[in-house]
């Protein structure tokens, strides 16, 4: 069942990439990134039983993959990053927050607003971490080359 879910998320990312007007050769790559993202999220959720940590690990991995693909193809990071991270966005929490407003349920509003902000922050934190690590590695490589000369 999990394999079907992972597969369908990938297919969904492929279709949403059409709406985002990604080029034809990137559709399959984006679909694979989406599947990897969701598989990582599901797998780490089972191990840690912590949604935030799972989202962090999944988006961290996708950021690395996106940076790698960007360097290989010379395309902007967004091309791979946006599609890859899309399944992790807290759509349902935003919906429940709105429902909280309709029902005047302050607890639900606060709970879901808090979760939405947390998830978005975690995704950004993972992006910052991964790009910082890549920059650090690049600088180390550059320094080593310079010292060899």
């Amino acid at each position: 069942m999990a394999i079907l879910e992972i597969l369908m998320i990938g297919v969904g990312i492929g279709f949403i990439s059409i709406a985002l007007e990604a080029s034809k050769e990137d559709l399959a790559i984006n679909a694979i990134l989406g599947s990897i993202c969701w598989a990582t999220y599901l797998y780490t959720s089972q191990i840690f039983d912590n949604r935030q940590l799972s989202i962090f690990i999944a988006s961290f991995l996708i950021s690395f993959l996106a940076i790698y693909l960007t360097r290989r193809t010379g395309k902007p990071l967004q091309v791979y990053l946006i599609a890859g991270i899309l399944p992790l966005l807290p759509g349902l929490n935003i919906f429940y927050m709105v429902l909280g407003f309709v029902n005047q349920d302050s607890k639900s509003i606060l709970e879901n607003a808090n979760l939405t902000i947390q998830i978005l922050s975690i995704i950004v934190l993972s992006l910052v971490f991964s790009s910082s690590i890549v920059r650090l590695l690049q600088r180390l490589k550059h320094n080593r080359k310079r010292s060899e000369l």
Partner: protein, 257 residues
């Protein structure tokens, strides 16, 4: 010298208009200006404007600017502009060829209108199954989002402000969802709504905004953050309004809150 600046500005304009981060726009423009014999160059990019200022070797400064009225997400155009800028900076193509290519990119239609609409609906179909929903739920959400997806694309084409289009799209999705749930109360509404909302949530804008802030561009980050907030507010108003009416009429109906 003016032509070189114009071509760099045009590339920057296309990048910014198609959803690039400001740091990337700056990088592209600077890359395209690197072969010029100038003493200094300053590139200022904010969410809605690009300003390029250079000082020529004879000390005469030139400044050009461009305001960006509307932005979109077009990943293919970002890739193509990056490729053209790369070729230009490596002197593989000259100025007129570069300008010509950039103009072609600007008018390129990546996918036909109907395909983008059906693609969005098929994405919600796949996401519903991916989030563990049933096949009936997935088919329902495909039809539920078909008209709103068409509407979003159409309103964008007609230059309707995104705040308004989000209100209308949110309201449309809610109306069709409520009709479907009234007909078949056994549908897993949470999985379906999660997939439908994902196409409207300004998560991408929010992430780009925070990335801009992290890169040190607080003005653009704040304006993009505001854009994301307004989009979410528009969506909330649209969804909330319809649900409020529905609940006040039916007293909750099939929904057990």
């Amino acid at each position: 010298m003016n032509d070189e600046l114009k071509v760099a500005l045009r590339a920057g304009e296309l990048m910014l208009r198609n959803g690039s981060e400001t740091s990337r726009v700056q990088y592209i423009i600077k890359k395209m200006l690197k072969n010029l014999e100038i003493t200094s160059k300053n590139v200022i990019v904010i969410g809605t404007a690009i300003i390029i200022s250079i000082e020529q070797s004879n000390g005469v400064p030139i400044t050009i600017s461009k305001s960006i009225d509307r932005r979109n997400n077009n990943l293919q155009k970002l890739s193509l502009v990056t490729k053209v800028a790369d070729d230009y900076s490596k002197n593989k193509i000259n100025i007129s060829e570069t300008m010509e290519k950039l103009n072609i990119i600007d008018t390129t239609v990546t996918y036909p209108f109907w395909l983008r609409v059906v693609g969005t609906s098929l994405a919600t179909f796949s996401f519903t199954l991916g989030f563990g929903g049933s096949i009936i739920g997935a088919i329902s959400i495909f039809f539920i989002t078909l008209f709103p997806a068409y509407f979003i694309q159409l309103l964008f084409k007609k230059n309707v402000p995104y705040f308004m289009s989000n209100i209308l799209a949110g309201a449309l999705i809610s109306i069709f969802s409520l009709i479907a749930f009234t007909i078949n109360p056994l549908l897993q509404y949470d999985k379906m709504i999660a997939s439908a909302i994902i196409i409207l949530t300004p998560g991408i804008a929010a992430i780009t905004a925070i990335r801009d802030v992290v890169n040190g561009d607080f003005i653009t980050g704040a304006s993009r953050g505001m854009e994301a907030l307004l989009s979410a507010t528009g969506l909330s108003i649209g969804v909330g309004f319809i649900f409020a009416i529905y609940i006040s009429i039916t007293g909750g109906g099939v929904w057990q809150f």
